[in-house]
């Protein structure tokens, strides 16, 4: 989504707009909701930070839509258009989320079979291409150039794949060009006073931000973050008993009485420090996705 936002931002910039784009996420980790926002204006942009009332919200992963912590619905009103990547219909989502504005489903080529829509190849490029068409002021050349700007460092193949997907999404939404319009800025003639409160004093028994629990890190399955999995070859392991287990920053390698190391895959984040440190090169790295597929 960060890249999709940057493609859209760069496309606006290439069309002569002032632009502000940024991703937003907390402590980065795999599987966490992430969003990115893009502002574009003919004049310098003074607003910053989150967009409180979006003209367009693009949802790449429809499982996030009903999740409160993802905040997908924040600020959506009658003016906001939602473009959602889903197998289900726009009407279903409009009803399910009680949205006052329009909903469009991201068109994708029917021949691509995936389990969840978020797993579509180049889904970010599809979102960027569709969004570029919906705002109505970005031409195909600016979109293509933006994809080159943002993905060129990854090689021609990646650029070509993303260009294909983005252009396809752009073309499929031709009838909706300009469906997203700019809302007028919030006027200061009248405004709703903020619902400010005076925070009451509360004793430290309630108000101290204490987290004192040794067990929580064990409960967190940080192994889910892993993209590469270290695998120990018992034939090559020389049973030194201490190198990999000592260097593991997550204490995820234990050694049994016979000197055999065991990796706790529930908590190994795949940093591969063990692989780098192992003197007899007995640890190799395999792609996590492939390993999970086998299991």
């Amino acid at each position: 989504m960060k890249t999709a936002g940057r493609i859209l931002g760069t496309a606006f910039f290439r069309e002569g707009y002032e632009v502000q784009d940024a991703p937003r996420y907390g402590a980065e980790r795999r599987g966490a909701p992430i969003f990115a926002f893009v502002r574009a204006d003919k004049n310098p942009i003074l607003e910053r930070g989150i967009i409180r009332r979006p003209d367009l919200a693009v949802v790449a992963d429809d499982t996030l839509a009903p999740m409160p912590s993802a905040g997908v619905l924040a600020g959506m009103d009658g003016h906001s258009l939602m473009l959602i990547n889903s197998h289900e219909t726009a009407e279903t989502w409009r009803g399910r989320l009680a949205l006052p504005g329009r909903v469009l489903v991201l068109p994708a080529s029917a021949e691509v079979e995936v389990e969840g829509r978020a797993a579509l190849p180049q889904v970010g490029a599809a979102c960027a291409g569709a969004a570029a068409r919906l705002v109505g002021v970005i031409g195909p050349d600016a979109l293509a150039a933006a994809i080159r700007d943002e993905l060129g460092h990854l090689g021609e193949g990646v650029v070509a794949d993303n260009l294909g997907v983005a252009s396809h999404a752009y073309d499929l939404l031709a009838a909706e060009a300009g469906a997203v319009t700019e809302r007028p800025p919030q006027a200061a003639d009248a405004w709703q006073s903020p619902d400010w409160i005076d925070l009451p004093f509360e004793g430290a028994g309630i108000s101290a931000p204490a987290i004192h629990a040794g067990l929580t890190s064990e409960l967190m399955q940080t192994g889910l973050w892993r993209t590469m999995r270290p695998v120990i070859d018992p034939e090559r392991c020389n049973h030194c008993w201490w190198v990999c287990s000592t260097f593991c920053p997550d204490s995820a390698i234990s050694v049994d009485g016979k000197g055999n190391p065991h990796i706790d895959y529930d908590h190994c984040k795949g940093c591969l420090v063990c692989l780098a440190q192992c003197p007899p090169h007995a640890i190799r790295a395999v792609p996590e996705q492939r390993e999970q597929g086998r299991e």
Binding site: I45, Q186, A187, A188, I197, L215
Partner: protein, 416 residues
């Protein structure tokens, strides 16, 4: 003109690159790491000279920066939040070495509780250490300020290190159009560092003081640092004038936005101040006579400019994105001290907002303007106000409830 979309972090790295830095001691921390990653990639690919070294902590990093600066080379480094505080002992120390370098801080609120999002308590913890401070509101300003910071710190009348501050997320990870100045124009504005007497060599020990001082000599050396910092005011104005002549961008020590005919003012610093500008525009469209004062230079504190711009105004809302626990807003007390005892000054009202990156929406700016105006009319300031809504307390209650449930579960069903 080379105008490109880059983040505030990359803008800071461009500043270092264009300043032709010799040495960058580094240590990663969110949300600053992109700065050193960018510089490391450029150096690795041969796009810029210089040496970047990973140190084992921010404390070591600032020590290395100060020691390298004392040899007369041009030094750059960057940190954030807990990292800045971890280095705090050495910030005070290296400032006393009177060897200039530039340290970028990407503001992030301090633990505990922990956050990744910005407020200014980190940079303000370094307020009194002898580093000069420049606070930025846009990505362009970040790049330009790094260049100006070298001129300022290296000025013979100053010779102090300089902190350049940008807000995490709101600038660090936000791309905006930034004009990358022509390197030859930068070299003209910022020539190679003429280190003069800054020439520490391991093989050539020298001394200007003794190691442990009694009050008299100690006061002398400390107060000389203060005088040097105060010299920064005149030096800054000179440098800003030259910068504008070279690059066409004007960065005064205090930005005054639509203040000339204003009756009311917002006063705030950092990137949230551009939101205050948007509110000024909206309020002006609705008939208000209001403006924004934004200090870019916090150390030395430009009280003269505050007095100049505030004279004759009726009310001012000072919005602090920080809190001195047990006192209140730091900028509020600085501004109050600057205008105290001066004739014809506005009534100040104090607001605390934006802690831990908490957003400040337009209607809150409008409301602050109204409160400041009403207070000025009545001649009586209300107590300081934390920008905090009933909805936010509801959200916090939800988290506290979840924490209590978790606590009960972990303690084996015992109810809290």
């Amino acid at each position: 003109m080379n105008r490109i979309l880059i983040t505030g972090n990359v803008a800071a790295a461009w500043g270092a690159r264009l300043a032709d830095i010799d040495y960058c001691p580094a240590f990663p921390i969110t949300p600053q790491t992109e700065i050193i990653e960018t510089l490391a990639a450029w150096i690795d690919q041969g796009e810029m000279p210089g040496r970047l070294v990973m140190l084992e902590s921010e404390h070591a990093m600032v020590t290395a920066a100060g020691a390298a600066a004392a040899t007369g080379v041009r030094v750059f480094s960057a940190t954030s939040s807990q990292g800045l505080l971890y280095a705090l002992e050495m910030l005070y120390n290296v400032a006393g070495w009177r060897a200039p370098f530039v340290l970028v801080n990407v503001s992030r609120g301090l633990a505990a509780p922990i956050t990744l999002e910005p407020d200014h308590n980190d940079i303000l913890a370094a307020r009194d250490c002898g580093f000069l401070q420049i606070h930025c509101a846009t990505c362009q300003e970040v790049l330009d300020s790094v260049l100006m910071a070298y001129r300022l710190g290296e000025d013979p009348s100053v010779r102090l290190p300089v902190l350049v501050n940008l807000d995490g997320f709101y600038l660090s990870f936000t791309r905006e159009p930034v004009d990358i100045p022509d390197p030859s124009a930068v070299r003209e504005f910022l020539p190679p560092f003429d280190a003069g007497t800054i020439r520490f060599r391991a093989s050539a020990p020298e001394s200007q003081a003794v190691a442990v001082l009694s009050g008299g000599p100690y006061s002398y050396f400390r107060y000389e640092m203060h005088l040097a910092a105060r010299n920064g005011l005149a030096a800054y104005d000179r440098i800003a004038t030259e910068f504008e002549a070279s690059f066409g961008r004007n960065w005064p020590a205090v930005e005054a936005y639509r203040c000339e005919d204003a009756e009311q003012l917002f006063v705030m610093m950092g990137s949230f101040a551009t939101k205050a500008k948007a509110a000024v525009d909206s309020l002006r469209a609705a008939g208000w006579r209001i403006g924004l004062l934004r200090p870019r230079l916090l150390r030395p504190f430009p009280e003269g400019l505050f007095r100049y711009w505030m004279r004759g105004k009726r009310g001012a809302a000072v919005i602090d994105q920080n809190i001195s626990l047990g006192s209140g807003g730091v900028l509020y007390s600085e501004v109050a001290a600057a205008i105290h005892g001066q004739p014809d000054m506005p009534l100040l009202t104090s607001f605390i907002g934006g802690l831990g990156g908490r957003d400040i929406p337009p209607e809150e700016f409008f409301e602050m303007a109204r409160i400041a105006r009403d207070a000025a009319e009545q001649g009586q300031a209300p107590p300081p106000r934390l920008l905090y809504t009933a909805d936010e307390l509801r959200e916090t209650r939800k988290l506290q409830t979840l924490a209590r449930v978790e606590r009960a579960r972990l303690s084996g069903g015992e109810q809290p």
